[in-house]
């Protein structure tokens, strides 16, 4: 067995192998290595710091319990991210049950106000520094509805296909397409808004 000092230099695959034999220190190294990414994914979906911390920790516990099932078909990072996403989606569904059926919610799929929005003709992200662009995107994501934000995260950040998203979000492919379309339109309008504010 490698000594504890070796862990930071070891590849994920080796750490997983050790963790599968019950080596908790190897697992701790995996947690340390990917904790920011996992927390970040949970936060991007929940937009709540406490929930993101709780869910990311729950994902790590689940990962430990299911390590035997991890066959290395994907990277460890992808695998633990998927566990996190599923936990977040479950939590969002639970939260939704408590949400009132407002006009905003009913308009999610059909577009609501985004239907009337004029097309943004100038690229509002042009000339922005990467850090600034990331900040604006994050700010805009925070202003989207849960459904719109989730579909954008799964499609643009997780690179999932329509049918994969449909399965995970438990809705039809048509709903995914519609949500993604209006999420993108709203996103474009929000980014254009920041640009306009900047020019004022």
């Amino acid at each position: 067995m490698p000594s504890q000092q070796d862990y930071p230099t070891q590849a994920d695959e080796l750490l997983v192998k050790s963790a599968k034999t019950g080596d908790m220190l190897a697992f701790e190294e995996l947690v340390a290595r990917h904790r920011d990414k996992i927390y970040g994914r949970a936060f991007s979906m929940m937009r709540n710091e406490d929930e993101a911390i709780d869910l990311s920790q729950e994902a790590w516990v689940k990962a430990w319990q299911r390590l035997a099932q991890f066959q290395g078909d994907s990277s460890f990072a992808t695998w633990i991210t998927r566990i996190t996403i599923n936990l977040c989606l479950d939590q969002l569904r639970k939260n939704k049950r408590h949400r009132a059926e407002s006009i905003e919610v009913l308009n999610e799929e059909s577009g609501g106000v985004e239907r009337q929005m004029p097309v943004v003709t100038v690229n509002p992200t042009e000339g922005l520094e990467r850090t600034e662009l990331r900040q604006r995107i994050d700010e805009a994501l925070g202003k989207l509805s849960v459904e719109h934000r989730t579909v954008l995260v799964l499609h643009e950040f997780e690179d999932l296909e329509y049918k994969e998203i449909a399965k995970r979000m438990e809705c039809s492919i048509g709903t995914v397409m519609s949500r993604l379309f209006y999420a993108r339109r709203k996103m474009a309008a929000l980014l254009a808004g920041y640009k306009r504010d900047e020019l004022k």
Partner: protein, 151 residues
Amino acid sequence: MNKFFISPIRLATWPALFVLISSVGLANVAAADTKLEVQLIWGTNGESSPDKNHKVLDPALSKKLGMFKWKKYFTVNREEISLTSHGAQKIRLGQCEVAIKQIEGSRYEINVFGKGKHVRKITEKITKEDSLAIAGDDKNDCAWIILIREI
């Protein structure tokens, strides 16, 4: 006139008739070639169907429908049809009807009717490898799927 003389016209009649009969026969064999299976499937997240006559869909087929979100699939209606070349047939599946017409080879025109009203015309390829599923939302977060396969 020599009684053994057979006129050239008479001589040509039999082979011509043979060719005609054979070609009609061959055409009929070719025409009955395309067999399609049309199924009306109901997708639900519930455990059972409200109608006891609905059978649970074949697991292999349910797996194929994995791209949809529903947990269980039930066969509401199942029909097999034979289409002659460029032929058309209308099938009633519960409250909906589908008219299938072979356009060319594996290309078909499908007209879907719901409660007697025309809903959509679809032109798609259907082969043994590629089936066609026409689907839509039903009440209570369920869905109907018309699955057309070549058999």
